[in-house]
């Protein structure tokens, strides 16, 4: 423990050394005096022969330390002391950095959780999704939710024939009324092929996985619960395995509980997982594409090899079933892309924007540092004269900047923690359900590592420039009073450059946020094709045991609708298989009479089953022909369809649709159906969706067991909910009201609105922060420059310069910097806003009005900021300034 002893005895050692050296000099002096030298000469001779006392002492001491660490520690001590002397500088700098670092860390936490953290499955990179698409349909019908479906028979063929995949698994959403765990309640569920969890590499926390033979039975007999469901609905009952519950009308035994950290974003709302239980058509019909498929690549197989093999399997299937599969292609997408694909561009844009804020914060603190360094020139010159090397001075300044950055980082961590929870809280619960990975956004090791890197980066970024500048101090000028009059030189140029950069970055953020706000406004202003006011939306699911046939559903619908209509305040009740703005729904292939197409290449469009009063209750415009009505369109009446304008535009190319007949091709027995009406388009998948071709059938002729009801009320639609619940109980006490929302709620929580509102707020706040920082930077620069030029201004005024000349001089300087910054910012924005094109709606990425108005706003604020120091400059008293010095 020698070093430990040394550490403690060091103070004495240093004392010894100082005394020893003093004695040395004394002895020398005495000897020289004895030899006849004057005392004064002896003094300087002794020092000359001895050398630089301070340096010798320092070198001697450095023998005893771990040199770099100790000089670092002494720099830290010194740095803390100097920073505490200048507390206002320190507070401003730390706050600025904390905001920059905190905001970046918060966004990074989310970026990490979504994009960097691997999916919580075994070897997630081997997981691929498979989907069947018909290129001729483009993305029609699915513009906001990329297609991910295949038919069950095709899935079986892939499983049998493919060697590239270790396993292939399918799943689908589901929902049950759960009995046997408190009040009957609707729970969301998922049904999967039995190898689903093993394909993901997930093992149940309790119990077992699905076993062979448990799928495709008449219904689920076993179920696996998520950890959350087990805790919430069953109180974490340790005896849960084997316990029997009722899902709808089937008794099911619980065989397992999933791990606590299990998540599967595409079915993020599923609490209960059951084996696949499909019947009849779904099992056998290739043209019914409803099941998303995931696969795990076999070891050593590349995605390209797998794709090639799938293509050849697909070709042989298509040859055997040209009607169903003739135009089908198989698309492989990594599971990760399916899961995070939609939030990825948003998060990257936010990350980039917040990075700009950090850069501006750094530029600002650098400027503060430069001003401060200028004031400390004497201090550094003195230290240089006393033997401090250049490296030592640089390291001193860097240590100070790192101390600031570290303090900013610590405070930033607090901001980040707070910011991250705000970021997540701002996401609507309905969206968060399907992005469960975002809930994992919190400070962890990766985030801390990012924070440290950010701290070091910022510390170096704003510390290096002043450090290098200071070390320029020429030793010949040592101890000379700083020349006051000139504000020019390298340092001033660097400061101007920084302010220009701040203005440019700020403008990019302003333009970005303005584009987002414009997109949001345009989106919310978009007419979705129906009246969204005062609508209550919910669904009812009719179990097959109580409602086996279509007429049963029709009877239920009629009775329920009648009751709903009698609720006070209800002005209309209607239903549709798909509620506009919520997405999803089925599509169907058809041929138009007189337009022959090759087998398998028929047209395909959305199909909706509606109540006869649907268009009038929704206030969707009738363009031509007639609507369905209860008198004509009975279940036994001739089959008619209504189409929308997009359908006419796409398939009839301007011909008159009324009287034309179409036939569905899934069965040769399908009759021709006459087009009796054309209605306006509605935004189906979301406010940002394109107009999709849809056709409508009367519910009475094509009933469903899952019915979406829309109730229009006179007042607040929420008030009708109680009446809705009691009406349903009156008709059938076994049924539950599924997901009641007002249309306003649906809109405000929809992905399309979220994808604009979220970045509008965030980039908007970043831009606001950037504006404040940049303006403070500019103001600081101009004020400093005015204070440096007091003498010059005094002379000018003494020589007859008018106030307006002084004003022009000072404002001119600010205006010049602003103009350069604005021009650079405009150029940068032209390029950078292209990156956010996918988020924009109804506004071009280079919208001239946005660009120009953002530039003007920034310029005006900038000039206003310069006006304050300019006023001060105008009131310069020439006699006072000339007397000074």
């Amino acid at each position: 423990m020698n070093w430990l002893k040394q550490l403690f005895s060091r103070r004495r050692l240093y004392g010894d050394l100082t005394e020893e050296i003093r004695e040395h000099l004394e002895e020398k002096k005495e000897e020289l005096v004895r030899n006849g030298m004057s005392r004064k000469d002896a003094e300087s001779a002794a020092r000359r022969e001895f050398g630089n006392v301070t340096l010798v002492e320092e070198d001697s001491r450095s023998v005893w330390r771990w040199p770099s660490i100790e000089s670092f520690l002494s720099d830290v001590r010194y740095g803390l002391r100097t920073l505490s002397y200048n507390s206002s500088f320190t507070i401003v700098a730390i706050l600025t950095l904390a905001l920059g670092i905190g905001a970046n860390t918060a966004i990074f936490s989310v970026v990490y959780a979504a994009l960097i953290r691997p999916l919580p499955y075994a070897q997630p990179s081997g997981l691929i999704t498979l989907s069947e698409v018909r290129p001729q349909d483009g993305q029609a019908g699915q513009s906001s939710a990329p297609i991910w479906v295949s038919s069950y028979p095709d899935y079986l063929d892939w499983t049998k024939q493919s060697k590239s995949f270790q396993s292939l698994a399918g799943f689908s959403g589901d929902a049950f009324t759960l009995y046997g765990a408190g009040e009957p309640e609707l729970v969301f569920a998922a049904q999967t092929t039995i190898n689903f969890f093993s394909t993901l590499g997930v093992k149940p926390y309790l119990g077992r996985d699905f076993a062979a033979g448990e799928d495709i039975a008449a219904g689920p007999k076993v179920a696996i619960l998520t950890y959350g469901c087990w805790m919430r609905r069953f109180g974490g009952d340790p005896q849960i395995l084997g316990r029997s519950i009722r899902l709808d009308d089937k008794s099911v035994s619980i065989i397992g509980v999933l791990p606590r950290d299990f998540e599967f974003a595409p079915r993020g709302n599923a609490e209960v997982w059951v084996p696949l239980h499909i019947e009849k058509d779904l099992v056998t019909r290739r043209s019914l594409r409803w099941m998303p498929v995931i696969g795990r690549l076999a070891p050593g197989i590349t995605p390209q090899q797998a794709q090639a093999e799938l293509n050849s399997i697909n070709a042989s299937v298509a040859a055997a079933y040209p009607q169903e599969n003739g135009a089908i292609q198989i698309v492989m997408v990594p599971l990760r892309n399916r899961i995070v694909g939609q939030v990825e561009p948003l998060l990257l844009i936010l990350f980039g924007a917040v990075g700009f804020v950090l850069l501006i914060a750094c530029a600002n603190v650098t400027n503060l540092f430069l001003v401060r360094a200028a004031g400390r020139r004497r201090e550094f010159n003195i230290r240089a004269a006393l033997g401090a090397g250049r490296a030592r001075l640089i390291s001193q300044l860097l240590v100070e900047s790192l101390i600031l950055a570290a303090a900013g980082g610590l405070l930033g961590l607090v901001f980040a923690q707070w910011g991250t929870s705000m970021l997540i809280a701002a996401i609507p619960e309905t969206l968060l359900t399907f992005t469960p990975f975002l809930r994992d956004a919190h400070p962890n090791l990766a985030v801390l590592a990012f924070l440290c890197i950010a701290v070091i980066f910022t510390g170096l970024a704003f510390g290096l420039a002043p450090a290098l500048q200071v070390s320029h101090g020429r030793e010949s000028e040592v101890l000379k009073e700083e020349t006051r009059a000139s504000a020019g030189g390298v340092r001033a140029r660097l400061r101007s450059t920084l302010v220009i950069a701040e203005i440019a970055f700020c403008l990019v953020l302003l333009i970005g946020s303005a584009l987002m706000v414009k997109s949001l406004t345009a989106l919310l202003d978009r007419n979705p094709g129906f009246d969204t006011q005062n609508l209550l939306v919910f669904a009812v699911n009719l179990p097959a045991t109580s409602y086996p046939k279509d007429p049963d559903a029709v009877r239920f619908d009629k009775e329920f609708t009648d009751r709903l209509s009698k609720i006070p305040g209800v002005v209309g009740v209607t239903s549709n298989s798909v509620v506009p703005l919520t997405g999803g729904g089925n599509s169907i292939r058809f041929v138009i009479e007189g337009q022959p197409v090759a087998t398998g290449h028929e047209n395909e469009c959305n199909i909706r089953d509606i109540s006869n009063n649907y268009f009038s209750v929704m206030r969707i415009a009738l363009r031509s022909g007639r609507l369905f009505d209860d008198a004509t369109d009975l279940d036994t009446a001739p089959k008619h369809v209504i189409v929308n304008e997009a359908w006419v535009k796409r398939y009839l190319h301007g011909e008159d649709p009324l009287g034309k007949r179409i036939r569905f091709t899934y069965s040769p027995k399908e009759p021709f159906r006459e087009i009796v009406g054309v209605v306006g388009n509605t935004a189906d998948a979301g406010l940002d969706s394109n107009d999709e071709a849809s056709l409508f059938l009367p519910f009475s002729q094509d009933a469903n067991s899952f019915i979406n009801y829309v109730v229009r009320t006179a007042g607040n639609p929420v008030n009708a909910l109680g009446g809705v619940r009691s009406s349903l109980r009156a008709v059938d006490p076994q049924l539950v009201v599924i997901q009641p929302f007002t249309m306003d709620q649906i809109i405000s929580q929809s992905p399309s609105v979220f994808l604009r509102r979220y970045p509008s707020y965030l980039i908007g706040s970043f831009a606001g922060l950037a504006l404040v920082l940049a303006i403070v930077g500019l103001y600081g620069l101009i004020s400093y420059s005015v204070s440096q030029r007091t003498r010059e201004l005094g002379i000018r005024i003494a020589l007859g310069a008018q106030q307006k000349d002084v004003l022009r001089l000072v404002l001119g300087e600010g205006a010049r910097l602003t103009l350069i910054g604005v021009l650079l910012g405009l150029a940068a924005a032209l390029g950078l806003t292209q990156l956010m094109r996918s988020l924009l709606f109804g506004v071009s990425a280079i919208d001239p009005l946005t660009f120009v108005s953002a530039a003007i706003v920034l310029a005006l604020v900038a000039i206003a900021a310069c006006y304050i120091p300019a006023r001060r400059a105008m009131s310069t008293d020439p006699s006072a300034t000339l007397r000074y010095e």
Binding site: Q6, D16, L17, E20, I21, E23, H24, E26, E27, K28, E30, E49, F50, G51, N52, V53, L55, V56, E57, D59, S60, R61, S62, V63, W64, G389, A391, R392
Partner: protein
């Protein structure tokens, strides 16, 4: 930053001379400096101050030890003394130095002939 004072000597030379001087008798810093200067006939340009970092290095690795005492001129001084390890180290260093010197001398002599 590395010891400017050694620019005319090779590394370790100053330490070697200090050890050699202290082998003869314990001395304090000033006397040590004067002795080295005198003995070298002022041929070597050594700042007196440069002695101290070297002494600290030797102290640290315990080749010398130091004690406060009273000098001949009645001053309170720190007297440095060679330790056993220091004596051994000196022997080794001197023999290494002599071998090195011999080598250099031979090469230089060859070059002349």
């Amino acid at each position: 930053m590395k010891s400017h004072e050694q620019r005319d000597l090779f590394p370790g030379a100053l330490e070697m001379m200090i050890l050699r001087t202290l082998k003869r008798q314990p001395l304090h810093g000033y006397a040590l400096a004067q002795h080295i200067k005198r003995t070298s006939n002022d041929l070597l340009q050594i700042e007196e101050g440069s002695l101290y970092p070297a002494l600290q290095r030797l102290l640290k690795v315990e080749l010398v030890k130091a004690e406060w005492g009273i000098s001949a001129t009645n001053r309170r001084v720190r007297i440095y003394k060679l330790t056993a390890a220091g004596a051994k180290h000196l022997e080794r260093e001197v023999s290494r130095f002599e071998r090195m010197l011999e080598g250099i001398t031979r090469v230089l002599a060859r070059g002349e002939s």
